[in-house]
Amino acid sequence: MEAIILQFLNGLDKGSAYALIALGLTLIFGTLGVVNFAHGALFMIGAFCAVTLQKILSLSKVTIDPTKTDFLGNPAKVKTPYVQEWFGPDVGAFIIDWSVPLALILAVPVMIAVGVAMERGLIKHFYKRPHADQILVTFGLAIVLQELIKYFFGANPIQTPMPEAFKGSFDFGAAVGIDPNVIIYPYWRLIYFAFAMVVIGAVFAFLQFTTFGMVVRAGMADRETVGILGIDIDKRFTMMFGLAAAVAGLAGVMYGPINAPNYHMGMDFLVLSFVVVVVGGMGSLPGAVLAGFLLGVLESFASMEAVLNTLPGLNQIIIYLVAIIVLLTRPRGLLGRKGVMED
């Protein structure tokens, strides 16, 4: 029982990342009709916003300490971060410690700018082209972006630790009076799940309860009619691309402490997120979120030792197996809309 609860928790945080990326993918597909294979790269760029801010906050004043030597036996260089110089050692250390949450503030404008630039600079030229062309060009863009990140940051993962206050894990067993040390879960992963729920809720509220969102939804349903009414729907769709990029970026920032960011992390999530979108139903935002969590939880259950002992490797294929079953029984996906990708 404890194992099932643990893997369920695991699935929720894994599903959070799938859901956030799939949500952005669906937003872009639903508004612009573009299959964006560069969306994983946006997730990766978000994580590197946290890396960049951490590096900026760690920029240091270098002084020579004649009492110490470096690895070559020369007088050692001592680095003191400028933020500690300016704000004092304690406040400076606190700012550096909180670099990941602070990176959320940096990531929103950066990701919107990256998203808008990507859409205006490249993707808009492929709106009327077949989906295969869109996939090729966005996949190529993803490779360019990841190679750029590798060029500037190297190939190895770079640690972006969570604030000291959130290190450690919550002992569910001890909290409810059963065996301690059996159902434990890291605080940061619980925060990631809560964060994902807030972002998903905010996106849905934005689309549901604002005039802007209403126009976008109308455009998703019938683009031509909205255009005839004199509304510049293209401009709003471009902004939705920026919003989708921001969602992916924020997911990446918060994911950094879970797995150290590296240039390839976007690709690791991209294919799975596409499967999530397809299972949820192309163009369906609730479907993307539902499928994200469902597949995350199923993948975790398939990783249980008892399951792996019976069916080795099941955790590697479970998502694809589920996708096959869903598509065979419900070709439009779980919550897919009629007419989407059916022409």
Binding site: A3, N10, A155, P157, P161, N181, I184, N259, Q316
Partner: protein, 445 residues
């Protein structure tokens, strides 16, 4: 639709051209030979450095390449000579190899066996490389070693830790300076017993490929021999990035020790997950929970950050060693590049020098003569104490370092501390235990 007009004359012409094209690589192989592949005839000799320049181990590959460039500089008489000054053999004079200036070409293994074989083949057939060296993966090492055996050139392996490289997959043309999984297990076990006792329950997470298997087997054999029990051993896919679903069940298994048979990005991510799940803060079976990483590298430790503190592992070499060879190498490398070399850089630099020295002692670039000069060769001054290149399996036997993640690093490079230098005798084994057959050396041509 295009119509294909195939005539007898056309077919013969096409066949002749295609035949000439297919024969070209063989002609290149045979060009200027003196009974072996790519015998150097001019005033230069070309070495092939096959390292991961892209892919997950690109940083290690970059460090390997830096070491090779430094070795070439020293071989040609440039720089301060580095380890050539401390090497027990004095055959190298700083005038190239056998008086020929050393030049080099590079290939990108991408840490993929097929890509590594293709780049090695290209360097042999197109660039005339007389020796191939490098790599940062056992899968790649085994694949390229087999290719070099077929092509008739020497392969001086880079960073490869699987027992198989000089075990069941050993080849007469292949030589490894780096240590292996068996040695890691043999060196670690006594330290683990001394620090954690002989009554432990271990849970293994193992990378699902060649190196992972041999490392798990080596650590299990060594720890079980001293009384530890292995409660579970779970294979993890090489492509796994989030290890939470593998880490979560560890405490429920009753294990009090987690062994991460992972390398590179796998190790960084699995260790990070284990620390996040608070395993190291727990007490199980009345003991503090412990994590072990059998193969450490400084570059990996850098990636894992503070998570490595206090965790035991083994390594082939570390820049903080105070023997004359290590100091000379760190000085040369550090002065040229501004940071200390990694263990990957060290083994590659040493392999380049050992090859050159063997050629000088043999008086020939013929791979069979070079192989004979390396077999049974005993040397010192290269950073690991007295070392033997064992003739039976072409494996170097030398001291092994047991290290621990440093609690209070004094610099960004000061991540590991050496807790024990395990003597070579303690990690030496019977070459027959891993099977395989060296075969006979192939001079090619």
């Amino acid at each position: 639709m295009t119509k294909l007009n195939l005539t007898r004359r056309g077919l013969i012409k096409t066949g002749a051209v295609a035949g000439a094209g297919l024969a070209a690589p063989q002609l290149l192989l045979a060009d200027g030979h003196a009974g072996f592949t790519n015998a150097p005839t001019g005033s230069t000799v070309t070495l092939g450095f096959n390292v991961p320049q892209t892919g997950p181990y690109a940083d290690e590959g970059a460090d390997e390449l830096r070491a090779y460039e430094l070795a070439v500089e020293h071989l040609n008489g440039g720089g301060d000579g580095g380890m050539m000054n401390t090497f027990s053999s004095k055959a190298l004079q700083g005038n190239g190899i056998l008086g020929k200036k050393v030049e080099y070409v590079t290939g990108d293994t991408q840490t993929k066996s097929d890509a590594a074989r293709a780049s090695a083949r290209s360097m042999i057939e197109k660039d005339g490389a007389v020796m191939i060296t490098g790599g940062s993966s056992s899968g790649v090492a085994v694949a390229v070693q087999a290719l070099c055996q077929e092509a008739g050139v020497i392969f001086m392996a880079g960073l490869t830790h699987s027992n198989d490289t000089t075990g069941k997959d050993k080849k007469a043309n292949g030589f490894r300076h780096f240590f292996n999984s068996y040695m890691s297990g043999a060196a670690l076990a006594p330290i683990l017993a001394a620090n954690y006792g002989t009554d432990r329950k271990a849970y293994h997470l193992t990378a699902d490929y060649n190196w992972g298997y041999t490392t798990e087997e080596a650590v299990r054999t060594s720890t079980e021999a001293m009384g530890w029990e292995t409660v579970a051993a779970v294979k993890t896919p090489l492509t796994q990035t989030d290890f939470s679903s593998y880490i979560a069940p560890v405490l429920q298994s009753g294990a009090d020790t987690l062994v991460l048979n992972h390398y590179g990005g796998n190790m960084v991510n699995s260790l990070t997950s284990a620390v996040q799940f608070g395993l190291r803060d727990k007490q199980v079976n009345g003991k503090d929970f412990q994590i072990i990483v059998p193969l450490y590298s400084r570059l990996m430790a850098k990636g894992a950050g503070a998570n490595v503190k206090g965790i035991f592992g083994s390594t082939n070499w570390h820049w903080s060693l105070q023997d004359e060879g290590s100091k000379a190498f760190v000085k040369s490398f550090g002065t040229k590049y501004g940071f200390p070399p990694s263990q990957a850089a060290h083994t590659c630099y040493v392999q380049a020098l050992l090859y050159a020295d063997a050629v000088e002692r043999a008086g020939s670039f013929n791979p069979c003569a070079v192989g004979a000069a390396l077999e049974g060769f005993e040397f010192d001054g290269m950073g690991n104490g007295p070392t033997l290149y064992r003739a039976e399996d072409h494996q170097c036997f030398k001291d092994v370092l047991v290290v621990k993640g440093k609690e209070n690093p004094e610099s960004e490079f000061d991540l590991l501390e050496i807790v024990e230098v395990t003597p070579a005798a303690q990690v030496t084994y019977d070459p027959a235990i891993f099977g395989g057959d060296l075969g006979t050396c192939n001079p090619g041509a």
